[in-house]
């Protein structure tokens, strides 16, 4: 068998070309931020074609409704009354700073009284 290379290269095996990834322009179109006419390249148009098909199916799913029997089934499964949450009375809270200031005032008043009594 000869190691000689053929004169002409063998034809490349056809490779399945995937859709180009969604560019920022395609994402913006899908987000409704720009019209499809804003997609400039054939690659973007190709990706947009795929997404138009996907969106069409997604919109079909959007038209689905709750099966009729479900609403009545839920209503009949409800307990007699919902739990009533007791309304909490707001509690008086003493913050650290208020306590410190209060303490200082008491001390000052006490010291003033003591000073006056000594005199």
């Amino acid at each position: 068998m000869s190691d000689e290379m053929p004169d002409t290269p063998a034809p490349e095996k056809p490779v399945h070309r995937k859709t180009p990834p969604a560019t920022p322009a395609v994402q913006a179109w899908l987000d409704g931020e720009q019209p499809r006419e804003g997609l400039a390249t054939p690659d973007e148009q190709e990706t947009a074609d795929l997404w138009a098909r996907i969106n069409s199916e997604a919109e079909t799913l959007r038209k689905r409704h709750t099966p009729i029997h479900v609403q009545s089934k839920i209503l009949s499964s409800l307990p007699e009354r919902p739990a009533v949450v007791p309304v909490e009375e707001p509690r008086a809270a003493l913050s650290k700073s208020v306590a410190v200031v209060g303490g200082l005032i008491v001390l000052a008043v006490g010291a003033a009284i003591g000073f006056m009594m000594v005199r």
Binding site: H16, R17, K18, T19, P21, A22, Q27, L30, D31, G32, E33, Q34, P35, E46, T47, L50, W51, R53, I54, N55, E57, A58, E59, T60, L61, R62, R64, H65, T66, P67, V70, Q71, K73, I74, L75, S77, L78, P79, E80, R81, P82, A83, V84, V85
Partner: protein
């Protein structure tokens, strides 16, 4: 088109909901039916998009509304956002349990039990593949994609419901699209 400003909550709707909640808490169980009727469709679609199974979506919806009823006195703020979070968390719990118990989504939870044979027949191949591809996305990406593309919500609305930022959600939706495209393009490109 430019990015719109965050949408203010529908105050009339929120007030109407609050009025119904007051009636229910006062003993009118039937009034709760109005809330079920008002919100069951978007919540059902969310559960269906997240789980891919109509049966599971029904169960989640039922359990969530019962939970909402039992804790109705704890609602602070918008009822729709509060009940949405109950459903969304139930979906995530279900997905976690599925993974923990090693039950294959394909075997157990493919949407094989649609309510009528006509509905089953109506599903075309791309829809089946889309649901299958969605099931392979991480939870947070799936949630963002379902809310944006299947439920048709705005980023602003999603940000309110999921208590996150519009920027973070855009990132998740963009990543979800990249992942879905990679999963679907072999067949459809």
């Amino acid at each position: 088109m430019t990015t719109t400003a965050p949408r203010a909550p529908d105050l009339d709707q929120a007030e109407a909901d609050q009025e119904i909640i007051t009636q229910v808490l006062a003993g009118s169980k039937d009034a709760f039916g109005v809330l079920i009727q008002r919100y069951s469709d978007p919540l059902y679609r969310h559960a269906l998009g997240m789980t891919g199974s109509p049966d599971v979506a029904e169960d989640i919806l039922q359990a969530s509304f019962i939970k909402a009823y039992q804790h109705l006195g704890e609602v602070r703020g918008r009822f729709d956002a509060w009940v949405f979070r109950i459903v969304a968390n139930s979906c995530k719990d279900w997905l976690k349990n599925i993974r923990r118990t090693h039950v294959s989504y394909e075997e157990d939870d493919q949407p094989s039990s649609f309510s009528t044979p006509e509905e089953e027949m109506d599903r075309n191949e791309l829809r089946t593949d889309l649901e299958y591809a969605l099931a392979r996305l991480p939870e947070s990406l799936r949630e963002a994609f379902v809310m944006k593309h299947v439920e048709g919500r705005s980023y602003e609305e999603m940000a309110v419901l999921l208590e996150t930022t519009v920027g973070a959600l855009k990132m998740r939706v963009h990543r979800a699209r990249e992942a879905l495209q990679a999963l679907l393009e072999e067949k459809y490109a």
